[in-house]
C-alpha cells in the first residue's frame, strides 16, 4: 500500500468500517510510514476534541415558546379544517336540496291527474315540388343537343343575335379603315 491509497481509505479506517484485510494493510502501512502515522495521529487527536465537545442546553423558555407556537399552529389547523368541512357541508347541503327538490317534483308530477302519455300534435311531412324551368326554345333542338353532347341552338336564336354581330363588324371595319 502506498501513501495515496492510505489517505483515500483513511476515513473508513478512522471510522472502523474497513474489511479485515484492508484494515491489516492500513495498520502495516502506519507501522512502516512515519509520515502517514503522524497524519493518522493528528486526525485522531483532533476528532477526539470535537467528539468531546460539551453539548449546549436549551434555554429555560424554549419549551414554553414551542408549546405556544404549536398551540397556535393547532388552532390554525383546526380553523382550516372547520372551514374546509363547512365548505364541504355547504356543497353537500346544496346537492341534497337539489336531489330533494327533484324528488318532490317527480312525486308531485306522478300524483297529479295529468295524462301519463304525452300527446304530441301530428307531424305532416311534405315533399317539395321540383323546380321546373320553362323552356322557351324549341324542344326538338334541345333534345338534339342532349344526344350529341353539344349545344345546338335553334336558328331563331342565331337570328336574334345577327344584327348585333353586324353592327359590331361594322364598327371594327370603320376602325381599320381609319
Amino acid at each position: 500500500m502506498d501513501c495515496r491509497e492510505f489517505c483515500e481509505q483513511h476515513v473508513a479506517f478512522v471510522d472502523d468500517t474497513l474489511a479485515g484485510i484492508e484494515l491489516v494493510r492500513m495498520q502495516r502501512h502506519i507501522a512502516e510510514c512515519e509520515s502517514c502515522a503522524k497524519h493518522d495521529a493528528k486526525i485522531r487527536r483532533a476528532l477526539l476534541l470535537i467528539r468531546n465537545l460539551p453539548s449546549i442546553e436549551l434555554s429555560a423558555d424554549f419549551s414554553e415558546r414551542l408549546e405556544a407556537r404549536l398551540k397556535e399552529c393547532h388552532s390554525e389547523h383546526l380553523l382550516a379544517t372547520t372551514q374546509r368541512n363547512l365548505r364541504r357541508g355547504a356543497i353537500a347541503a346544496t346537492l341534497a336540496s337539489a336531489v330533494m327538490l327533484g324528488y318532490i317534483g317527480t312525486t308531485l308530477y306522478h300524483r297529479s291527474d295529468a295524462p301519463r302519455d304525452l300527446v304530441m300534435p301530428p307531424v305532416i311531412a311534405s315533399i317539395p315540388e321540383p323546380e321546373l324551368t320553362p323552356i322557351t326554345t324549341s324542344t326538338p333542338a334541345i333534345v338534339a343537343s342532349v344526344s350529341a353532347g353539344l349545344t345546338i341552338w335553334p336558328a331563331a336564336l342565331f337570328a336574334e343575335q345577327v344584327p348585333v354581330h353586324f353592327a359590331h363588324s361594322k364598327l371594327e371595319l370603320a376602325n381599320y379603315t381609319r
Binding site: A12, I43, I50, R51, S55, E57, L58, F62, R65, R69
Partner: protein
C-alpha cells in the same frame, strides 16, 4: 373523594401512555401521533430538541437563532407529519429539515452583511460573559483552559467551508452514518466520504497549533 380517585386514575393512565411512548421507536411514536395521540409529539420533541439545537448551533454559530430554527423544525414536522414517508427514518427527515433551514440561514446572512455584523458583535459580547457551562468544582485555571479549548474547537469548526462543516458535524457530533448524511445533504455517498475526509484534514490542520 370520587374526584380524587378519578384524577389519580387519569394521572396513572397518562403516565402509562408516556412510558409506553418512551419505550417505542420513532416510527411507532409517529404512528401514534397520526392516530390521534397528541402526547406522542411531545415525545418526539423531547427526543430531538437538544440534538437538533447542537447540530444547528454548530452549523450556524448563533445560539439564539439556532433555538428559533429548532422551533421552526418542530412546527414544520407538526404541520407535515402526515406527508412523511414512514418507510424512511424519522431522524433523517428531521435532520434534513434542520439542515435545510440552517443552510437558508447561512445564505441569508451572506446576502445581508448587517446580520453577519450583528452575529459577530454578539459573539464579541459573549467573550465578556462570566464562565458558564463548566464544572465549578475545577480550579480556575483548569476552567479557563477548558473554556478556551471549547472556544477554539468551535471556532475551528466554524472556519470549515459550509458543505464540509455540515457533513463533518453530522458525522462527528451527531454520529450519523454515511448513508444518512448522503440523504440529509442530498449528495451521493462518494461526495460525503470525500467531503468528510477534507473536513477532517482541514479541522486537524486548523486546530493543530493550539493543541500541540
Amino acid at each position: 373523594m370520587a374526584d380524587i380517585v378519578r384524577k389519580q386514575i387519569v394521572s396513572v393512565e397518562g403516565q402509562t401512555v408516556r412510558e409506553r411512548l418512551q419505550a417505542m421507536d420513532d416510527s411507532a411514536v409517529v404512528t401514534a401521533f397520526l392516530g390521534g395521540e397528541e402526547r406522542a409529539f411531545s415525545e418526539l420533541v423531547t427526543r430531538y430538541q437538544t440534538r437538533l439545537l447542537n447540530f444547528v448551533y454548530r452549523t450556524i454559530g448563533d445560539r439564539e437563532k439556532a433555538e428559533d430554527l429548532v422551533q421552526e423544525v418542530f412546527i414544520r414536522v407538526y404541520r407535515h407529519l402526515h406527508r412523511f414517508d414512514r418507510s424512511k427514518k424519522f431522524s433523517t427527515w428531521v435532520y434534513t429539515i434542520a439542515s435545510n433551514l440552517a443552510k437558508n440561514e447561512l445564505r441569508n446572512r451572506s446576502r445581508n452583511p448587517l446580520v453577519l455584523f450583528q452575529t459577530v458583535q454578539k459573539n464579541f459580547q459573549d467573550e465578556d460573559r462570566p464562565l458558564q457551562f463548566e464544572d465549578t468544582t475545577s480550579r480556575p485555571d483548569d476552567m479557563y483552559r477548558k473554556r478556551h479549548l471549547r472556544e477554539i474547537v468551535e471556532e475551528s469548526v466554524a472556519k470549515l467551508p459550509e458543505h464540509h462543516r455540515n457533513v463533518f458535524i453530522l458525522r462527528e457530533l451527531e454520529g450519523k452514518s454515511y448513508e444518512e448524511i448522503a440523504e440529509i445533504t442530498d449528495c451521493n455517498l462518494g461526495t460525503v466520504k470525500s467531503r468528510l475526509n477534507r473536513a477532517r484534514n482541514s479541522f486537524a490542520e486548523i486546530i493543530a497549533p493550539y493543541v500541540d
